[in-house]
Symmetry: C2
Subunit: 296 residues, 2 copies
């Protein structure tokens, strides 16, 4: 098995591209695709710093690694969600990675800021933990992105394709309209970019392995029954039977801009903090109110 | 377990409706839903006869049974596709059903008409058998529907939802635009209706069992690797995890009329037979030409 490009021994096989590559050529191929994704979707062109949300998993740590390697100025943001037996370990991986690479990292501790971790917050909010966790992360990332040109997340092709599948299955017009590799800045909402939206988790695993990037490999213990994981499993089955199905599915959706014409929900600034929301007070401020009531 | 309606013992459980029913109430429920589907989508209102395509499987035989029972005038059309070890058996079930119920039936024999069965025709056409078979059936059904108000097929909710999934996965705009419970008559194309589009194959199985309808239960031996069966399997997994997912997915798609605005492919009458086609000569006439060449 020879590398398609250099004809040396190929150790990596990418079914969706019908490509066999050696480790060196794979790295070049991978980095080039991330760079082209950033250029194609006009994610970031200036010399400004990108804030990268890093969880400690392979996707976000590899994203940080690649973006720095390509030549972007970066800073990491880690949110410690206070999930016992999971968050400590995640943070350790992030700290080690930042230290080893001499990268700038800021850590926000949810327990310090709100007095409770995600598990307890979800009980107080009366909502499923994945919902509360997503809301918290979006809010904090957006707040911490103040002063940055954009906020990058490690969303992969697998994430995007399975989210698209779930949104279509439930005809979530709002989500379908907004699902995009780039979310432009809008009043209090900062620009968000997904430079990994066209690369698969399998490719990222190869990259992590080659670059010797350590990461937390377990799923969050609170996400066991998450619908998002079920949708991922479904699309994995499709990809297994039809290589490149995810890539075609997602790329064509983005290219065609379906659902862009559907009616947009009106957002307004939160009365308390100014964050854009559908109701008068945003979910984050409502959670804080509930926390105060619970403490009285 | 008591029947939701009559409080007698319930033997049938419908997860998508969270309903438990006895056999009698289930039959009423089932027939009512088919009747309401016909009315809702304005499928057929006159006293004219409906031509029903019957394969010998449970869906089409049950459709024939229900439509007659509801009070529609019907005639059956069976196409013998000449698939050795399968078509004979399918035809036997159709013949027995028509005889037992004293229903009118017309049989078209592909081997008699074209000199070869689907397996050989697919070889001559150089196309996969499911493609050739579908083309033949659509053409013959349409031709035989001359003089009828409409042609009914046994497409079920499972068929429609999995077709929709496949069309979305591949963003087949043309198919997405046309997928509908009713296809209006258009020049040489007759009106086509799918009265079972909102009922599941599980419900149809219960109906067949209660009404003692015998049918061929094997899949066609030529369809083993059919993509359509794979999509069905995928949506079965979704339904298993999320009861009523198929119904919501399909109903919302129909209600919202997504993709209706996409650009329509221009159809023109076939130079030889007048059947609407995208090219000058339709696939059926091209197959006949190839058959003639093969025989010279």
């Amino acid at each position: 098995m020879k590398c398609k490009f250099c004809k040396e021994q190929a150790r990596i096989k990418l079914r969706s591209y019908n490509l066999r590559l050696c480790e060196n050529c794979f790295q070049d191929f991978f980095k080039k695709r991330v760079r082209l994704t950033i250029e194609k979707f006009k994610m970031h062109s200036s010399g400004d710093k990108i804030l990268i949300a890093v969880s400690g998993g392979k996707d976000s740590l590899c994203l940080w690694h690649v973006l720095d390697d390509i030549g972007y100025k970066t800073q990491g943001l880690h949110i410690d969600l206070g999930i016992a037996g999971y968050s400590e370990k995640s943070k350790e991986y992030v700290l080690k990675f930042a230290r080893d690479n001499n990268f700038n990292l800021k850590i926000i501790d949810v327990k310090e800021e709100l007095g409770a971790g995600v598990r307890e917050l979800s009980r107080i909010a009366g909502r499923v933990s994945c919902g509360v966790c997503g809301m918290l992360r979006r809010y904090i990332m957006n707040r911490e992105a103040e002063g940055f040109n954009c906020l990058a997340t490690g969303h992969t092709l697998d994430d995007e394709a399975s989210t698209l599948f779930g949104n279509l299955l439930n005809w979530q017009e709002g989500f379908l309209r907004r699902q995009s590799p780039v979310l432009k800045a809008n009043e209090s909402l900062k620009k968000k970019i997904k430079p990994f939206c066209l690369v698969s988790e399998e490719e990222i695993s190869f990259y992590a392995f080659i670059c010797n990037i350590g990461y937390i490999s377990e799923n969050c213990p609170l996400s066991k029954n998450a619908t998002s994981l079920f949708y991922k499993h479904i699309l994995d089955e499709v990809e297994e039977k039809m290589p490149a199905a995810k890539l075609k599915f997602y790329k064509q959706f983005i290219k065609k801009g379906y659902f862009k014409g559907t009616i947009e929900e009106k957002l307004m600034p939160c009365r308390i903090c100014g964050y854009l929301t559908v109701s008068g007070v945003c979910s984050f401020c409502r959670l804080k109110e509930k926390l105060n009531e619970a403490r009285v």
